[in-house]
C-alpha cells in the first residue's frame, strides 16, 4: 500500500506540473513539461549518468564519514564528562557558522575535486547525527542502568550492551535527517566550484538556457536523493529490528 501511494503521489505531482505547463502555455525554455524533461534525459542520458555518479559518490562518502564522525564524537562525549564540557560548546558554535558560506573556502582549500564536496556534506551531516546519537546515549532508561549496577556490570559492557543499542533508534533518526540533507551539501559544493557532478551540470545548462537539461539533472537528483533516503531508512529499520516488531504489535 505505501508503495502504491508513493507512485500515486508522484503521478499526481507530474500531472500538476503538466497542467501548469498547459494552462500558462509558458515557453519550454522557462518551464519545460515532463515530456521535454524525459526527452532531455534520454538525449543526454550517458552524460547525465556520469555526472550523477560523481554526485552520488560525494553524497555517499559524505554520509558515511559524517555518520562515523558524528557517532564517534557522541560516544566520546558520553564516555568523558570533561571532554563533553569542552566539546559541546564547540559543536554548538560550529553550527552558528553558515555552512554555505564555508563552501568557497572549502573549494579553495580542498580543490575543485570531490574532496571539497564531501567535506561540505560531512559538515552538514555531522551535527544532526551527533546531536541525535548523543541525546539517545544520554537518555538511557535509568532503571536499566540501576539493574546493571546491581548486577555489578562493567561500565564498558553497559555501554556496549545497553546504552548504545538503546540509543540506536535516536541515531537512526539522526541518520535519516542526514540522508535527507546530504545532497544539499554536495550540490552546493558543486555550484561553488567544480568541473563535474550534477550541480556543475545544472550551472552549465543554466548558462546556456538549456532549461530542459536543468530539469533532467534536477529530476535525476531528486530520484537519487529519494533512493538514498529510502535506502538509509530501510537499513536503519533492520538495524533497530526490535522497534519494527513493537510497532507491529501495536498495530495488530
Amino acid at each position: 500500500m505505501p508503495a502504491v501511494r508513493f507512485v500515486l503521489i508522484c503521478l499526481g505531482l507530474i500531472l500538476v506540473w503538466q497542467a501548469v505547463v498547459w494552462l500558462t502555455s509558458v515557453p519550454a525554455f522557462i518551464l519545460p513539461g515532463p515530456a521535454e524533461t524525459v526527452l532531455a534525459l534520454w538525449r543526454k542520458g550517458p552524460l547525465l549518468v556520469h555526472h550523477a555518479g560523481i554526485t552520488l559518490l560525494e553524497i555517499s562518502a559524505g554520509l558515511v564519514l559524517g555518520a562515523v564522525f558524528g557517532a564517534f564524537s557522541a560516544l566520546i562525549m558520553t564516555a568523558s564528562g570533561t571532554l563533553k564540557r569542552w566539546l559541546l560548546p564547540v559543536l554548538v558554535m560550529s553550527q552558528a557558522v553558515p555552512v554555505f558560506a564555508l563552501a568557497p573556502l572549502l573549494v579553495l582549500w580542498l580543490g575543485y575535486g570531490p574532496a571539497s564536496k564531501i567535506a561540505m556534506a560531512v559538515l552538514i551531516i555531522f551535527f544532526p547525527v551527533t546531536a541525535a546519537f548523543y541525546d539517545g546515549l544520554r537518555s538511557t532508561d535509568p532503571e536499566w542502568l540501576d539493574l546493571a549496577r546491581v548486577m555489578d556490570a562493567r561500565p564498558r559492557a553497559v555501554l556496549y550492551h545497553i546504552r548504545i543499542p538503546a540509543a540506536l533508534p535516536a541515531f537512526a533518526s539522526g541518520l535519516r535527517v542526514a540522508a535527507a540533507v546530504a545532497p544539499i551539501g554536495a550540490v552546493v559544493g558543486e555550484w561553488v566550484g567544480s568541473s563535474s557532478g550534477l550541480g556543475f551540470y545544472m550551472l552549465h545548462a543554466n548558462a546556456r538556457m538549456q532549461t530542459d537539461l536543468m530539469f533532467a539533472a534536477l529530476a535525476l537528483l531528486v530520484v537519487m536523493a529519494l533512493s538514498l533516503y529510502f535506502f538509509v531508512d530501510w537499513s536503519m529499520r533492520r538495524v533497530v529490528y526490535w522497534q519494527q516488531t513493537e510497532i507491529q504489535e501495536v498495530e495488530q
Binding site: 532508561d141 532503571e143 540501576d146 539493574l147 546491581v150 548486577m151 555489578d152 545497553i162 513493537e246
Partner: protein, 249 residues
C-alpha cells in the same frame, strides 16, 4: 534447582532519608532475617521503594544510619533486583535477556546458556528462547525477568512490586513460581497490597506515616503461599488495612 546456602540477613540501623529537605522516612530500625520472605508493606509514596533502592546500593550513600548484611557480608555480588517493570532489553532474545548479568560481567559461557535455557523451561517458556520480548505477554515477560533474577545466583533478592502490573490470575501463578524458585533465599518484597504480603511473607513489615516509620513485624501463621480464606489470615488482613490507614493520617 537453585540452592541458597545460608543467605545473610539485612540489618537496618536508624536509617533515614531526606528528599528535597523533608524527611521521607527516619529512624528505621529493623532486621530482615536471612533465608525468608519479608514483605515490606506500605501506602504509595511512603518511601518503601526508596528504602529498597538504598539497600540495593543504587542510590549511593546519601542516607543516615547504616544498612549492613549480617556476618560481615559485603553488598558486592550479593543482591539481585526485580522490579514492577520487567526491564527486558528489546534487542535481546529471551535467553540473552535471562543471562544479561553474565553478559554484563563478561561471564557468558555455554554452561550459563544451558542453565538459562533450563530455568526458562522450568518457568514455562520452552519454545520462546529465541523470541524477542515484544512477542511476549506481560506475564511471560515478567517470568523472563524472574529467571534473569535467578540467574544472578545472589542470595539476597530485592523485589519492587514485581507482580503489581499483572492481571490477577497471572499474578497468582507468578507468585507461586517465584516462591518455588526463590525458596531459601533472603527475599525483601515491597508491595502496597496487604493480600500479597499475607500470601507470600514469612514476615510482614508495615511502613507508614510521614515521615514514614516502621511498625513491629507481623508473623502470620503457616507458611507461604497462604490461602487467604482462612479466618486468621482474613483477620490479619483487616488489621493490616487498619494499620495502613492509621499510618496515612
Amino acid at each position: 534447582m537453585t540452592h541458597f546456602q545460608d543467605p545473610p540477613g539485612i540489618l537496618l540501623d536508624n536509617v533515614g532519608f531526606e528528599f528535597g529537605g523533608t524527611a521521607l522516612f527516619s529512624g528505621l530500625d529493623f532486621v530482615i532475617p536471612g533465608g525468608q520472605w519479608t514483605c515490606l508493606l506500605g501506602p504509595s509514596g511512603c518511601g518503601k521503594s526508596t528504602l529498597l533502592r538504598l539497600i540495593s546500593g543504587s542510590l549511593g550513600s546519601n542516607f543516615s544510619g547504616s544498612i549492613r548484611f549480617d556476618r560481615g557480608f559485603s553488598r558486592k555480588n550479593l543482591t539481585a533486583w526485580m522490579s514492577q517493570k520487567d526491564l527486558l532489553l528489546p534487542w535481546l532474545t529471551v535467553q540473552s535477556n535471562a543471562m544479561l548479568g553474565a553478559r554484563l560481567r563478561g561471564e557468558a559461557t555455554e554452561e550459563r546458556r544451558q542453565r538459562a535455557a533450563a530455568l526458562l523451561e522450568a518457568a514455562g517458556l520452552k519454545g520462546y528462547l529465541d523470541a524477542y520480548p515484544a512477542a511476549l505477554s506481560g506475564g511471560m515477560r515478567q517470568r523472563v525477568a524472574l529467571v534473569r533474577t535467578l540467574m544472578e545466583d545472589r542470595p539476597v533478592i530485592l523485589m519492587d512490586e514485581p507482580f503489581s502490573a499483572l492481571d490477577a490470575l497471572t499474578r497468582l501463578k507468578l507468585q507461586d513460581l517465584a516462591l518455588e524458585l526463590l525458596q531459601g533465599a533472603t527475599v525483601l518484597l515491597v508491595t502496597h497490597d496487604p493480600y500479597e504480603a499475607l500470601r507470600l511473607g514469612h514476615r510482614i513489615q508495615v511502613m507508614a506515616g510521614r515521615p514514614a516509620r516502621i511498625r513491629p513485624p507481623l508473623t502470620p501463621p503457616g507458611s507461604p503461599p497462604r490461602r487467604l480464606d482462612e479466618s486468621e489470615v482474613a483477620a490479619l488482613h483487616t488489621r493490616l488495612f487498619e494499620n495502613l490507614k492509621s499510618g496515612e493520617g
